[in-house]
Symmetry: C2
Subunit: 147 residues, 2 copies
């Protein structure tokens, strides 16, 4: 049955961020749909942000396209020099290599939910707001030291 | 600005189906988002089905994962041995290689809209209900003759 019952898929608030930078995503609850249902060509995640939570640290990928579709509630898309409130049905795209650090933040007083699409990044990921860099398969300080 | 204004993207009801099989998709209106905004890792299409229209002939891909998220209205997912009505927020996945011919049909009296994700298929696509096969880069009759 191709229709997906989200309740069948484990929801986790885990993160691989170093502890110093994990606070904003502690109330980000993710269901990794693609591996759960046998998709391999791209990643699909269902994400709930509790009030105050962020989708990630603000970041941009050198080599991973990203796409989001809002499903419920509202989230603020924060990017270089701009803020845009997204509502159900809105979508946004982040082509790889564009140095426009972005994330979604739930600044409302209710949960919001969105679907995120991407592929596993093989190159660097940059975090303009914090002392963080993903490079060589590990999180590092901006000077290259590993966390 | 990563938020996408759908009105900026051309909407087309074109199809490459042979004329014999194009009827069901004549009122399928597609915006091909990925090329319009510079995504290359996967395809993203915004699709509106007018009442009576189908997303495609019922089909399955040997080598392309597909995923849909309903945005508005309702569509009937028709697959082997089953029918499921999808509403806004529902999603469905079609892993490559599973011989479960599927399509969405708008059996309601109002437009419906969904977002579809995939990658360009490089292998065969099978159509269980009609004399149609995609193979070797062309539409063919099931006996292999080209349209």
């Amino acid at each position: 049955m191709p229709r997906i019952d989200l309740d069948d898929i484990v929801q986790s608030n885990g993160t691989t961020y170093p502890a110093d930078h994990a606070g904003p995503v502690q109330q980000r609850w993710v269901r990794r749909i693609a591996p759960a249902i046998g998709l391999a060509d791209f990643g699909v995640s269902h994400v709930v942000l509790k009030p105050g939570a962020a989708s990630s640290q603000r970041h941009w990928h050198e080599d991973e396209d990203e796409f989001v579709v809002m499903l419920a509630g509202q989230a603020t898309l924060v990017e270089e020099g701009g803020r845009t409130v997204l509502h159900a049905g809105d979508c946004a795209a982040f082509p790889k290599g564009e140095p426009n650090g972005h994330h979604l933040v739930n600044e409302s007083d209710a949960d919001c939910a969105f679907m995120a699409f991407g592929r596993p990044p093989s190159g660097d990921c940059h975090y303009p707001d914090v002392d963080l860099l993903w490079s060589g398969g590990a999180f590092r300080h901006k000077d290259g030291r590993r966390y």
